[in-house]
Symmetry: C2
């Protein structure tokens, strides 16, 4: 709490410096703060105040701060637009390449070209290279600011290289060893450099079994490698082992957050990454799913209307519609969540399609049996009619089993077909399960109609 107060006090001082044109005081106070806090302050300013900031800070100083502002911040575009183009271009080239690319990717092609034309050729070409990688691949999240050395040198000379590249490299804690063709031969950690004698040869120290990822690898697989090995950075190579860049752990945290949000969104049938407080906007994002599912729900209604004569004969049947569809829907949602999780965790080879489905159907049978017997007893006593209880219990058993089948089969099919299994949303499964549950329920009911009405 008092840390927050201290920070707010700093912000107040900074604002005063800005308004009173105390450029020197402002710079000292501002540059002393952590870059994340610099970003917080910068984002709290008005348009006019930010224009002053661009005259107080160098493009390099602004770049350090821009490196930590979330790239999905909606205002980033506007910030860029309000700077002088040459200032913005210089700032972009001072940012870590991966962050600059993320930022440029939010602009249209014409603007990107404008900024690239204002940079020096080398920076522009590095950025251009990264702009081409597909979304969600290792290439799209890597940066080119790594430290590489050749093997044929001592710890002392490697430390010398490090000292001089430390300022621009995104991490100096791993040093990659390459040959003349820039092919990755080994890796050595700064920790190894520190604990070993200055005269030791790098070739004797380096680990030759480098864990690396390919530039086209899915970012989720890259995240899994980070989890397994507890690395702080991983080298990215092409398919002939040429070192292209590195992925750092802070980018991986973003990947993990994004994937979790997308799984969660799938289950909920709403994109939670765009949490807006504007009810109209929020509604417009939720309606497409709701209306689509409304039409799917209409087929359930149509199905029930076929059984309307059954209901008018035995209105008691209407009493249990929502109980059966609801319970089956709950079971289907559980099944869906487990299937999506299992697909995310399992290695390729472990994905024995048939076995997983079989196990899920069996789970459905067991839960269905327990739930069915429970409701059989309740309805039997409540309505004093054990045949009706049997119909409801039987329908429950079948509906739950089918819901479990649908909840596991659909995400697995999507996975097989190359889609993200998480887009098989929870609401979709429950609405689909409404349809099958109603069909099962009325089929069984019509078979036993004459008995329980007696």
């Amino acid at each position: 709490m008092d840390e927050n107060q201290e920070l707010e006090e700093q912000f107040a001082f900074l604002l005063k410096d800005l308004q009173e044109n105390n450029i020197q005081e402002f710079r000292e106070r501002f540059l002393e703060m952590h870059i994340y806090e610099q970003g917080q302050f910068y984002q709290s300013l008005t348009d006019e105040e930010r224009l002053v900031v661009y005259t107080y800070l160098s493009p390099k100083e602004l770049a350090d701060m821009f490196d930590v502002i979330e790239e999905d911040n909606e205002n980033m575009k506007d910030y860029l637009a309000e700077m002088r183009p040459s200032y913005a271009a210089e700032m972009l080239s001072e940012m870590y390449t991966d962050n600059a690319v993320d930022l440029l990717n939010t602009l249209d092609k014409k603007q990107i070209a404008k900024y690239l034309s204002l940079m020096d050729a080398e920076d522009a070409s590095e950025i251009k290279d990264l702009l081409h990688y597909e979304d969600d691949t290792a290439g799209s999240i890597m940066t080119t600011e790594y430290v590489s050395i050749v093997a044929n040198q001592t710890v002392r000379s490697a430390m010398y290289v490090l000292k001089h590249e430390a300022d621009v490299a995104e991490t100096i804690y791993y040093i990659y060893v390459v040959n003349q063709e820039n092919q990755l031969l080994g890796v050595i950690s700064l920790r190894d450099l520190i604990v070993n004698e200055d005269d030791t040869m790098i070739s004797d120290l380096m680990s030759e079994r480098v864990i690396s990822v390919h530039v086209g690898d899915d970012q989720e697989d890259v995240a899994q490698t980070f989890r397994d090995y507890d690395f702080l950075a991983l080298p990215v190579t092409d398919y002939d082992d040429h070192l292209l860049g590195i992925v750092t752990v802070d980018d991986i945290i973003d990947v993990i957050d994004d994937e979790a949000a997308s799984d969660y969104s799938g289950l909920a049938g709403v994109n939670i990454e765009e949490v807006s407080e504007n009810p109209l906007k929020a509604a417009s994002r939720r309606l497409p799913w709701l209306i689509t599912l409304l039409f799917l729900g209409m087929s359930t209604a149509t199905l029930i209307s076929h059984y309307e004569s059954l209901v008018s004969e035995a209105s008691i049947l209407a009493v249990f519609i929502s109980l059966i569809t609801g319970t089956a829907g709950n079971a289907g949602t559980q099944s869906l969540a487990v299937a999506v999780r299992r697909l995310a965790l399992a290695d390729e080879k472990d994905n024995n399609f048939a076995r997983l489905i079989f196990s899920e159907v069996l789970t459905g049978l067991v839960t269905g049996l327990v739930t069915g017997i429970t409701i059989f007893i309740i309805v039997g006593f409540w309505q004093g009619n054990f045949i009706l209880g049997f119909v409801i219990g039987m329908a429950m058993l079948c509906a739950i089993t089918v819901a479990n089948l649908a909840g596991s089969l659909i995400p697995m099919l999507m996975d097989k077909l190359g889609f993200d299994p998480a887009v098989a949303s929870g609401p979709f499964i429950t609405t689909l399960s409404d349809l099958t549950s109603v069909l099962i329920y009325f089929s069984i009911a019509s078979m036993f109609m004459s008995y329980f009405l007696a």
Copy 2:
């Protein structure tokens, strides 16, 4: 792919070494592998083979490998139990303290005491200290293997300290500056040490605005600080600024994974962290929720049974029960997911309870209006009865609005009461919304009964 083959080949060689008692070859090959791969190999062995491993490797060598095996691995207990107690105790004291504590926490008190009594006093007391911290706090995930120095020395002497502590410290990339009472005064990164001259004083280099967390802070808040500042480690202090330990980014990735899994589990109404392929076990974990919700669903059935006479008069009403409950349930799930997300993201001060609820109800009104009008038109034409269409549309509008209210109000109330809002599960909201939807539907229907039957 060929990386995997290479690894499998290594595993085959290792197994052969083990079976043929080639201890020297085994040790060379084994220790050359990355510790994660060592763990993979170790876990693939039979009980007998593992017993041989314990004679080939020192407790320290085994400890390095145990540091990366997931602490939630069910077999860890058995591994410990099969080692000689003194070997196990030595291994535990060689592990990073946080990992040793995680492992010990899976054992019962008597066993913990046994291992602690076999360790040397200092190691035992460090572990004992950490065992006391509450789950899910910074204290429970921190480790005590950090590097600290006093300010009054040069870069050269700090590097000397670092060299000698590098072997035991979990990270050497941040060095914490403390006073005689071990109170945190500043921090300096290894990067700063490397780029500065050997004679520079630490006091001139260190950053005095240290970002730290308190030992009792929630681990989610710690994770958020990592996200904001892109740190690799954070110091943990007591409330008088004494440095107690550090949290490293690899532990934070576990925290982020756990929290995502628990949010997802909440929405699905099933614990996805225990994905089992045994259908009986899986069923036993899903049934408690299903049966609980079955009883809640029974109240919906009871409610409908009060309207049974209405249904027997107008069996067409039964046709739309599942459409209305299903659509309202879908809307409620969306609302729940957004509310849980918003609560996770928002700062304390931003959580204006009334405003968030109001905005969610408004979103419900808008989505309800659009959905209601759609279904009014569909039912009107389909059944040739626009009064019936009006009843269904009106019920839809009200049911969706109420579902949105419930979906946002319930997690927010839970948050206010100090519970994790994510435990308000999706299935609970849909089942609750079934009840309110049916009540709304039949109330409106009974009001307009005489009109649409005409």
